[in-house]
């Protein structure tokens, strides 16, 4: 079960949507942190205990791919599960993300049900309650 979740997306609306779906799932985590880009996300990861990262790919400053690469090279962060939620259409990026060990990829646009199916077990809720 993920007690502390970090949402990394430059869209405030998407961060709010993801927050809402997490609540709808009945997950009730202790903390939901938010970051607007990869650099901000890494800083949050350095300051807080995080059990699950939900990250976009296209963001200003630092995207989700580079953030995940940097997490992999940091022993304190490399085992934190990462799920990518992105509109990125590139098959090559998905291959790279697989190699980096990301736990899942949700394509935007996504439905609340699609989110729960993919992320439910990481949140500790049933994928189809």
């Amino acid at each position: 079960m993920s007690r502390n979740i970090l949402i990394v997306d430059d869209s405030t609306t998407t961060r709010a949507m993801v927050r809402r779906i997490i609540t709808m799932c009945g997950a009730a985590p202790d903390n939901i942190y938010e970051a607007a880009d990869g650099a901000d996300g890494l800083a949050m990861l350095g300051q807080n205990h995080v059990d699950l990262v939900l990250a976009d790919l296209h963001m200003p400053n630092m995207g989700g791919l580079e953030m995940t690469q940097r997490m992999q090279s940091n022993p304190a962060m490399k085992n934190i599960p990462v799920v990518i939620i992105s509109a990125d259409p590139n098959l090559g990026h998905l291959e790279q993300l697989k190699l980096l060990g990301v736990r899942g990829h949700l394509s935007k646009p996504f439905t609340p049900e699609g989110f729960r199916t993919l992320v439910g077990d990481l949140l500790g809720v049933q994928a189809n309650a």
Partner: protein, 150 residues
Amino acid sequence: MLKIHNDHLEASLSDALNVMAFISPMPPEDMAPPTGPALRTRIDFEGVTTGSLELVCPLAFGAMLAANLLGTEPEASDNNASGDALRELLNVTCGTMLRNSGATQRGAIEMGVPTQESFDISNWNTFIESDAVVVDADGCKLAIRMIDGI
């Protein structure tokens, strides 16, 4: 360079509106410009195909879009939320179009971060005459066009 057809653009906008914002776009009753302040949102992409998408719509649509995305009422949306929701809509439309047109199966395409500026509605006709797709989204008129890059 790979040419993406407008049908893919229209289908991708429709898909994004439907799935993320619960809006079923319809053909517009007429092509007259919408009223009120308007925004132009733009996203660039570069790779096996290069170009930009531009979306023009009334600011009021942004408020409705933000409310739909968040499950609230449009009155609760401020200008920041409206702008952000429109940028996300265009980002998702662009990604869907590049994927569904098969473009990304031919090679990599990097999408940029969407930008936004106010749009002088007196330029509406010029905008839509440049091969734009116009739809009615729950009573608001949206125009979207693709600009081929070099």
